[in-house]
């Protein structure tokens, strides 16, 4: 059990998802079995990932050689505090959206729960692997699951958005393979730790090629992370996806951000000689422009889901700023913000869906519509989510942004970071209060709200789980910050990684 603990977060959803395609679970009438199965799998996944986190904190990072092929030759799973934390976050978000989907979203298609499980396989795999080609494979797993989830429920808009999403990501995958081929051709390895060691020993000509390969990879990760100028697909895609799917997608941009953190800290980090911090000059303007574009998009959004999608772009920009500062403190701040923004943007998509169900044809568009049936309850949830996402005090959003701002003091970019993040926070508050005013207070008096469906207990449970997490993160802020600090230090500590991998500089 403990021996294979590192691979369990991949195996549980994979085997579980496959089993759910078989007779006891398959078929349109057996959705109750599928629900029970999905709930069981999600709870197991959360329990295992929390235990994994505990083990990693206690005993240090785990290196798991798949098939016992030793590094640098075999495929290696590497679990440090950062990966363990993200796997736990994925499991938590998965649990929340699974609960939410029990309200009826999962019955729009037969394969909702198995597909969510396969999405988890891909996401957890991408977080856990330490092999670039394996990373590509897990990207494809999560992508093909996301393609089918995006079209879940069907409809014109979903097909159109999905076509764009699929084509973009197929081009992205091709670029990823070009980048991989380039890096493999130059360094002769795919293991991230081994590659970190090899890039320092390259000749001058080869360094240029490695730089080209590394930069090409940034385009791929930027596409996944929705970094400017590759973010145009995101607001539309997230706006048309059904609510639990959109909420789950909140973690998918973070996969791209995670890969940027991992690859450009370990391989092209400060120890990489000539290639050290080679993408940092690119990241600065892109991060700032992402925030600007996301904020403007948020102000211009016609409905709540598009607004939430634009806030995802803002959060990606903030995370990239934390990356561009290139210190463990900044990384730690970014990780704290990452947890929080994933959970809250996920919750916003769910709230937008619940709002829409009670407003008739107006859905979540900012137009005058009939009064909602459960105005007060939805209002409270919206206010909590809005305050958290904008970064107002009692919630963890405040903590996250504060720590990011703190880590940016005494650098060359202090003025930029402070002004951009603070102005964008203000604009977010303006956008959200405009949205809330129209959604909740501008009603047509005539219509009776009685016929609209009430919020089911599942919807309330799923959203509540996410919303409660935000003040919890603030309440246990000290220990969370301590954890992310350790995770960040571990990420930046390349000699420790090489030691865990049992790789040494002189061994050729």
């Amino acid at each position: 059990m403990t021996l294979h603990l590192a691979i369990l977060p991949i195996l549980i959803p994979m085997i579980g998802g496959l089993l759910m395609l078989l007779p006891p679970f398959a078929g349109p009438l057996r959705y109750q079995y599928r629900r029970a199965g999905a709930l069981f799998l999600m709870l197991t996944q959360v329990a295992v990932s929390v235990y994994l986190m505990y083990v990693v904190v206690q005993n240090g990072a785990i290196m798991y050689a798949v098939g016992d092929w030793r590094p640098p030759f075999g495929i290696i799973l590497y679990v440090d505090q950062l990966s363990a934390m993200l796997v736990a976050l994925t499991g938590f978000l998965g649990l929340a959206i699974t609960l939410y989907s029990f309200a009826g979203d999962d019955r729009e298609g037969k394969y909702f729960h198995p597909m969510v499980q396969f999405l988890l396989v891909g996401i957890c795999g991408a977080f856990l692997t330490n092999d670039l080609f394996n990373l590509f494979v897990f990207f494809e797993v999560l992508l093909i699951a996301s393609y089918t989830l995006l079209i879940h429920g069907g409809g014109k808009q979903k097909t159109a958005a999905n076509l764009h999403y699929v084509i973009l990501n197929l081009v992205g995958s091709s670029l990823f393979l070009f980048a991989l081929g380039t890096l493999y051709g130059i360094t002769g390895t795919l293991n991230i730790a081994d590659m970190a060691m090899r890039v320092t020993q390259l000749s001058e000509g080869n360094q240029l090629i490695a730089q080209a390969g590394g930069s090409l990879m940034l385009i791929v990760f930027g596409l996944k992370a929705a970094m400017l100028p590759l973010h145009f697909w995101l607001p539309q895609t997230y706006a048309v996806a059904s609510a639990p799917v959109a909420a789950m997608f909140a973690i998918m941009t973070k996969v791209g951000v995670y890969c940027i953190f991992r690859v450009y800290t370990v391989i092209f980090g400060e120890q990489a000689g000539e290639l050290a911090d080679m993408i940092q000059p690119w990241i600065w303007p892109l991060a700032i422009l992402s925030i600007v574009a996301g904020t403007i998009g948020a102000l211009a959004s016609p409905n709540l889901r598009t607004l939430a999608g634009n806030l995802v772009v803002v959060s990606v920009g903030t995370l990239l700023i934390a990356f561009a500062l290139r210190t463990p403190e900044a990384t730690a701040a970014g990780l704290l913000y990452l947890i929080h923004s994933t959970i809250i943007t996920g919750a916003l998509f769910l709230i937008a869906d619940m709002l829409g169900q009670q407003r008739g044809k107006a859905l979540d568009y900012f137009v005058i519509a009939r009064k909602m049936k459960q105005q007060a309850l939805l209002g409270v949830m919206f206010v909590v989510a809005a305050m958290a996402v904008a970064g107002l005090p009692p919630f963890a959003g405040f903590l996250g942004k504060l720590v990011v701002l703190q880590s940016a003091t005494n650098t060359d970019y202090t003025a930029w970071v402070w002004s951009i993040i603070l102005v964008s926070s203000l604009a977010t508050i303006v956008a959200l209060s405009r949205a809330g005013t129209t959604l909740f207070w501008r009603n047509t008096p005539s219509h009776d709200a009685a016929e609209s469906p009430g919020i089911s207990k599942w919807q309330l449970g799923g959203t509540g789980l996410l919303l409660i997490a935000s003040p919890m993160l603030a309440l246990f802020g000290a220990s969370v910050i301590e954890y992310t600090n350790n995770a960040a230090v571990q990420l930046h500590d390349i000699p420790y990684l090489l030691e865990v991998m049992n790789l040494h500089g002189d061994a050729q």
Binding site: F133, V137, E140, I144, Y147, I151, G155, K156, T159, A160, N162, L163, H164, V166, I167, L170, V171, S173, S174, L177, F178, L180, G181, T182, Y184, G185, L190
Partner: protein
């Protein structure tokens, strides 16, 4: 051999990118296919091109790197599955949206906008 190989990869990539930028789903799908062919060839060459090299130690004087072959095989399988998916999706989009444009509607054609008025004036 290298020159021919490079030209093949280059031409395939060029055609793939060109076709991906077209407006209709059919050419985009063909473009994606070409791009994945180009990628497969490119991956294959990342272990250096060599003739008569054995992939197993002790079988010959010259050795070929076996890993790119494994990578290419994986990439072919994944690429094939993805192309199959995008073909089905494109058919679905044709049915749902009523045309085969990637954007879901026919782009405004300046000729068509001008001509009808010309006769009436």
């Amino acid at each position: 051999m290298e020159t021919v190989y490079v030209i093949c990869v280059g031409v395939l990539t060029f055609c793939g990118v060109f076709l991906c930028l077209r407006g209709r789903t059919f050419s985009v799908v063909v473009g994606l296919t070409m791009l994945s062919y180009a990628v497969n060839l490119f991956l294959f060459s990342s272990g250096r091109l060599s003739l008569d090299g054995a992939a197993i130690l002790g079988m010959a004087d010259k050795y070929a790197d076996p890993l790119p072959q494994a990578l290419t095989l994986t990439a072919i399988v994944i690429g094939f599955a993805m192309i199959a998916f995008v073909v089905i999706l494109a058919l679905r989009a044709r049915a749902d949206l009523g045309n085969d444009f990637v954007d879901g509607s026919e782009p405004l054609d300046s000729d068509k906008l001008v001509k009808p008025n010309r006769g009436k004036a």
